[in-house]
């Protein structure tokens, strides 16, 4: 087993408001290996984005945040790193491609200028050089007429093009880890496929690892090597992608996959998971999923004890459920 590139150990992120504590990330640990694509899956509010934003320490400083745990990047704990060290890492070794290209580009500056900024943050080069690289980057991500587009403003771009521009900024310095946060959520279905191609190509070229955050299982099936499933700030299951889809071993994962619309067979109705995601200020005691769990059947241990991530089946497959053995053979 090679050394993990990124290793998150027992990360906790709590947002404190005057009235309540929101535990957005509650004891999350996982690794990312060189060259792989790790999918992070879960409903909105599961803590996926917050986890990855914390890696780069990008949680806005104006909120009251308490963070604990370790984030080891190539062995160095980013939580303890100095401001300068984090700045070094951001954009250069770990790059974020944020959610929602609508709001993530500065509306008053030309796109080219912003791409240039990504480059110049880490290297001094003559203006002509950065211009050339910038246009080239736009071309790489498939933006037509890159030289002209370089001088345009974000509002002159379509949604898909904006996402491409964000990707361009992300790969500008050939980072070893790309974090793609819901790269297709804000886009048309028709554009989604194209964007994923761009991302795949970019990753292949730079041989980077990628953490793909999404709630779209189809995307995971296509792109990911391994998958981590999150619920209410916890990891409930982690496995390689094929196993997750063919032999999931957690009631929540089962529910997620089961809720995918079937295009074949006699299914007439959608089968959503009953109930709704918990309010993160009031997470249920014990296992956070128990109120909606078909496996739990109200058993007491589910209500009182939080299940740990334990190995199931072969070594790399882990699940956090008290009754995981009862799931043997499910999902087929």
């Amino acid at each position: 087993m090679p050394e993990p590139l990124l290793s998150i150990r027992d990360l906790h992120v709590t947002f404190r408001t005057r009235s309540e504590s929101v535990r957005a990330v509650d004891g999350v640990s996982f690794d990312v290996y060189p060259g792989e694509t790790l999918g992070v899956v879960g409903e909105s509010g599961a803590g996926k984005s917050v986890t990855m934003l914390s890696v780069l320490r990008l949680i806005p400083p104006s909120t009251r945040v308490v963070t604990s745990g370790q984030v080891l990047f190539r062995g160095k704990d980013l939580m303890q790193a100095s401001k300068r060290e984090i700045r070094e890492i951001r954009g250069r070794h770990i790059a974020l491609i944020p959610q929602d290209p609508m709001t993530c580009l500065d509306p008053v500056l030309k796109v080219g200028r912003q791409v240039r900024e990504a480059i110049e943050a880490h290297a001094k080069a003559p203006a002509a050089e950065t211009y050339r690289r910038g246009v080239q980057l736009l071309e790489t991500v498939g933006i037509p007429e890159p030289a002209r587009r370089y001088t345009q403003f974000p509002h002159e771009y379509s949604g898909g093009m904006r996402q491409r521009a964000m990707i361009a900024m992300g790969i500008a310095n050939a980072p070893s880890l790309l974090i793609a946060d819901e790269p297709t959520t804000a886009l048309d279905v028709t554009i989604q496929a194209q964007i994923m191609d761009v991302l795949r190509a970019a990753q292949r070229e730079t041989r980077a690892s990628m953490v793909l955050i999404t709630h779209d299982l189809g995307l995971i099936a296509e792109m990911a090597d391994r998958v981590v499933v999150m619920y209410a700030g916890h990891i409930v299951e982690s496995a390689d992608v094929r196993t997750v889809f063919s032999a999931p071993r957690h009631p929540y994962t089962l529910g997620l996959i089961g809720s995918l619309p079937q295009t074949t067979g006699n299914e007439k109705w959608l089968r959503p998971i009953p109930g709704s995601p918990p309010d993160l200020a009031n997470v249920p005691s014990g296992c956070p999923f128990h109120p909606r769990c078909f496996l739990s059947r109200g058993r007491e241990i589910c209500r009182t004890a939080r299940p740990e991530l334990r190995s199931v089946g072969n070594g790399a497959h882990r699940s956090a459920c008290h009754f995981v053995d009862e799931l043997e053979g499910a999902g087929r």
């Binding site: 700045r87 951001r90 974020l96 993530c104 509306p107 500056l109 900024e117 943050a121 880490h122 900024m169």
Partner: protein, 309 residues
């Protein structure tokens, strides 16, 4: 380019309409003077002939529309009437003094803008810490401070006690210091409050987070936020100029600064209505023009703003 011109013309026409309204109000007000306006203007010591003269020249015995029209015609010829007190044309009186007021207003606005933005940015980026509290206190104090009191205090401090600066007049560059400061404090307070609140908004935006994710130094991120926050701040600065014009009246009086503000007070005391009318007109015109300039600047600051299609 022609879209821009169309817009400009449209704005100027609207401005013209507003000014016409202002003039109308002025004319009506003069007519509304209790007693005989002509007599009041001519002064208590005037002879009946002089009073009749005034009445004639201002068209005071004619119906309002005619008087209004007369004023407009004069205006079209570049004349704002004759000062009842000084005997010279209103235009020349104003002309002599206007530059002083403009200088004062400009410097005051600049002072207020520069320090206001600086203070506001500092307060927003260090929210909750002592700079923020200090800035807020200055802010509230600044807008509560009576301009003339501050002026007098400054005079006592710098001219009387420390003997550093001249008491008044417009003799040298140093005599500009205290009036500017006096005017600028209020402006600075308003600008800093506005800057702080808009900065707090923009600093939270997603694109600022994206900028930070690129690994830039923090002040680059702040610059992005400030650029985006600039439109409301610019609006306030523009409004401040107008407020300063009003404040200039008081400041000029305190410091004996020879601008049109001081002239206004004098002419009110002298019942010199043509002059009063003229000054008010000039004030209104300046303010309106300023509005237009501010609006035009919007499109420079924020490329999304399309004032014209």
């Amino acid at each position: 380019m022609s879209a821009f011109l169309t817009y400009l013309v449209r704005r100027l026409v609207a401005a013209g309409v507003t000014l016409l309204g202002v003039i109308l109000v002025m004319v009506l007000l003069v007519r509304a003077l209790p007693g005989d306006p002509a007599r009041i203007i001519a002064g208590l010591l005037a002879t009946p002939e002089q009073v009749a003269q005034v009445r004639l020249s201002m068209g005071l015995d004619e119906p309002v529309p005619v008087q209004y029209w007369r004023y407009l015609v004069n205006l079209a010829h570049g004349s704002l009437g004759t000062s009842a007190r000084f005997g010279t044309t209103v235009l020349s009186e104003i002309g002599h003094r206007l530059p002083y007021t403009i200088v004062l207003a400009v410097f005051g606005t600049l002072f207020g803008a520069v320090f206001g933005i600086a203070l506001g940015v500092l307060a927003a980026t260090h929210k909750g810490r002592w700079i923020d509290a200090f800035g807020s206190m200055l802010g509230v104090a600044g807008i509560s401070m009576p301009v003339y009191w501050l002026g007098i205090l400054l005079i006592v401090l710098f001219s009387v006690q420390l003997k550093l600066l001249p008491i008044g007049g417009a003799g040298s560059a140093s005599s500009l210091v205290m009036p500017t400061l006096t005017l600028g404090v209020f402006s600075m307070a308003v600008v800093s409050r506005m800057t702080r609140s808009t900065m707090l908004d923009t600093l939270d935006q997603d694109y600022v987070r994206t900028v930070r994710a690129k690994g830039v130094v923090e002040w680059v991120a702040v610059r992005h936020a400030l650029h985006n926050a600039f439109i409301p701040i610019l609006t306030v600065i523009g409004l401040q100029f107008g407020t300063l014009l009003g404040g200039a009246v008081l400041t000029e009086t305190v410091f004996s600064w020879p601008g049109i503000g001081q002239l206004l007070v004098q002419s009110i005391n002298n019942r010199d209505f043509p002059l009063v009318q003229g000054i008010v007109f000039v004030f209104a015109a300046m303010f309106i023009v300023l509005n237009i300039i501010t609006d035009l600047l919007y499109s420079v600051v924020d490329p999304r703003v399309r004032l014209y299609r």
